[in-house]
């Protein structure tokens, strides 16, 4: 299932996938896979993404 919340939160901050990936210390492909719903990130990565985007875990990863 696609993670559109993450995608829109990233777009709202005008960040590209590569920029977000650099900030959280992963590859662009990993961010892409999370947004496409191909990969379930670890809780540590979820927290890192939330911190960069200024969102909570519920906002981004809870349906």
């Amino acid at each position: 299932m696609k993670n559109l919340k993450l995608k829109s939160a990233r777009a709202a901050l005008d960040l590209s996938q590569q920029e977000l990936a650099d900030k959280v210390g992963v590859s662009r492909q990993t961010i892409n896979a999370i947004e496409k719903g191909d990969y379930n990130p670890s809780i540590n990565l979820c927290i890192a993404i939330c911190k960069v985007l200024g969102k909570t875990l519920d906002d981004l990863f809870w349906d």
């Binding site: 777009a11 590209s16 996938q17 210390g25 992963v26 590859s27 662009r28 492909q29 990993t30 892409n32 896979a33 990969y39 990130p41 670890s42 540590n44 990565l45």
Partner: protein
């Protein structure tokens, strides 16, 4: 130790155990001559020709175990007037041990053959006058030693492979415990996961091939020799690892560098196409003559490795490019809206 690492450790131990078992099973049967015939034959010449029977047949050897054998022959004629050709007949089918016809030295020659249980090997010595100098009439004596010997390449390669497996296992085990994972920034968590899966797939490929070979070995049908086995294990396993890791963006190098893939992909494909083009005429000859080609699996394994990896990298490069373009277009549309 965590449960998932225990699984890897068990698989690695199984791999080492199988190679050890295989080497032990083979060592007993290898390197010993199955039969040795030696002696001196008197060859009489008259009017520049071999007088009487020019063919000297040695007793037959019945093969007890299927496998790869070497047929050795060592010839020496004390006055170098007679050339000797060794015909080795397997179940009546003729094949020749080609000797270099030197005036003063007959080189030790051997023929490698894949033989089945109950095959009958008969070696014959065929004499003909030397082409180098006019033959003198009289008696000439040819000393011969002929051997049918089990190929010991299997034990050598299996022992080497076992040693290599143990060495790699020990090094991996030590590295696993001494490495500080927090300092390693080469791969992110998704890449590490896919690389782990790729390594497991490669190990399973390796095990399946080994088990298949072991099954054939115990059924006394040897599909290929040990040198080929090593290649047949190595290339598909490495290919599975590279294709699995690369297709999931886990890369085969230590960091993301798509330029490598752009170069390596076409390069591998070119190597695959060139080697296949070189190999195909040989293959057609083998098929036409209905011969047994021991190196066939080795060629197929190595050629398909280069072809498959090359194709995968080229496809991946194109799909990444399309994905990046799509992403860029969507972001532009978002900005505009």
């Amino acid at each position: 130790m965590k449960k998932k690492y225990t699984k890897y450790a068990v698989l690695a131990a199984l791999l080492v155990f199988i190679t050890f078992l295989l080497s032990m099973a083979v060592v007993n049967n290898s390197g010993k001559p199955v039969s040795t015939y030696s002696g001196i034959v008197k060859v009489t010449t008259a009017n520049g020709q071999i007088a009487g029977n020019d063919l000297y047949e040695l007793p037959s050897t019945i093969i007890k175990d299927s496998g790869v054998y070497h047929l050795f022959a060592d010839m020496e004629c004390e006055d170098y007037m007679v050339d000797t050709e060794v015909d080795s007949l397997v179940n009546g089918n003729d094949s020749v041990l080609a000797f270099e016809e030197g005036r003063y030295l007959y080189k030790l020659s051997s023929l490698k053959a894949s033989l089945n249980k109950d095959d009958e090997v008969t070696m014959c010595l065929r004499f003909k006058p030397s082409e180098d100098e006019p033959i003198k009439d009289g008696d000439h004596y040819v000393e011969y030693t002929v051997q049918v010997m089990r190929d010991n390449t299997l034990s050598t390669f299996t022992a080497a492979f076992s040693f290599g497996s143990v060495l790699v296992g020990v090094i991996s085990f030590v590295l696993f415990f001494i490495s500080d994972k927090k300092k390693s920034k080469g791969f992110d968590e998704m890449q590490l996961m896919y690389r782990g899966q790729a390594a497991l797939s490669a190990l399973l490929t390796c095990l399946v091939i080994l088990l298949g070979f072991m099954f054939c070995f115990f059924m006394e049908v040897i599909p290929f020799d040990a040198a080929t086995l090593v290649t047949v294990i190595f290339y598909p396993s490495l290919g599975v690892f590279i294709i699995h890791a690369d297709s999931h963006d886990a890369y085969t190098v230590f960091k993301e560098n798509t330029t490598n893939r752009k170069i390596i992909g076409p390069l591998f494909l070119a190597v695959g196409i060139i080697t296949t083009a070189m190999f195909l005429p040989q293959l057609f000859l083998v098929i036409r003559n209905q011969e047994k080609m021991l190196e066939l699996p080795r060629y197929i394994a190595s050629n398909s490795f280069f072809l498959m990896v090359g194709i995968e990298m080229i496809i991946k490069t194109h799909s990444d490019k399309k994905e990046a373009e799509l992403e860029a277009r969507m972001e532009t549309e978002n900005e505009e809206s």
